[in-house]
Amino acid sequence: MEELKQEVRLPRLGEPAPDFEAVTTQGTIKLEDYKGSWLILFSHPADFTPVCTTEFMAFAEIYEELQKRGVELLGLSVDSVSSHIAWVRNVEEKTGVKIPFPIIADLSKEVTLRYGMIHPGQSKTETVRCVFVIDPNQIVRAILYYPLTTGRNMYEILRLVDALQTTDQHGVATPANWKPGDMVVVPPPNTQEMAEERLKQGYECLDWYLCKKKL
């Protein structure tokens, strides 16, 4: 029982992404093959289903924008490679949209369990709509879970990547509804002296603990 609990433990932010070697539509891929790149690992419930088809077309549409940001995409479901191939060929035939990224065929559910992608309250057999943003050092930086009935928002995924990369590059945080070009949050002071100095530093401040600046 203890072993099972460990098996389904969810990855946590700031920890190394669970390792894997998986069969995909572009050959056998290991997590380490993505070292040095950002990676978005995402799961979908099943091939040839309506919401998933709209999501795959949407992921394909933002693929170029993700590539500009140094981000690779990797899909996953518990379908077979043959099913994945048939589905992406069907999507291309019916819509003209080519799926340019690999999709893991996780029939054994090895990757699925390591990333906690099955939520039995939603489905005992299908993966929910997970998104794991993994940085170039293979650390989990953000996690999203969406239910089976709700397609993900690609603009939010792009915004999330932009926010994480901005934080890394400039050592700042990003406020609610932030988008590139908006002011960013200066990390709050952690001593009384710094708090007193903060208001004299030329930032736009509500008070000492909430100051913003332009990048």
Binding site: T28, K30, G36
Partner: protein, 76 residues
């Protein structure tokens, strides 16, 4: 197998990888830049070639093996 078809012939991306090794590119990063293939594809492809005995990993990177050179020479 992504770079070698079941009939033993390299795929289009596999052929690109073999040719890049013949041209003297050694590291996955150099090969990705030279071929335009994503770095993860290059890494997994080189691993596949090494397992099939078509490439060898040495101190300064990947090289075509005699078997890989022979295969590349047989391609049109």
């Amino acid at each position: 197998m992504a770079c070698i078809s079941p009939d033993g012939k390299p795929t289009e991306s596999g052929t690109k990888l073999l040719r890049s090794l013949k041209s003297g590119l050694r590291s996955p990063e150099e090969i990705a830049k030279g071929t335009g293939l994503p770095l993860f594809r290059v890494r997994s492809g080189l691993r596949e070639f090494a397992q099939a005995g078509l490439a060898e990993q040495k101190d300064n990177g990947y090289h075509l093996s005699p078997k890989g050179t022979e295969l590349l020479g047989s391609l049109p």
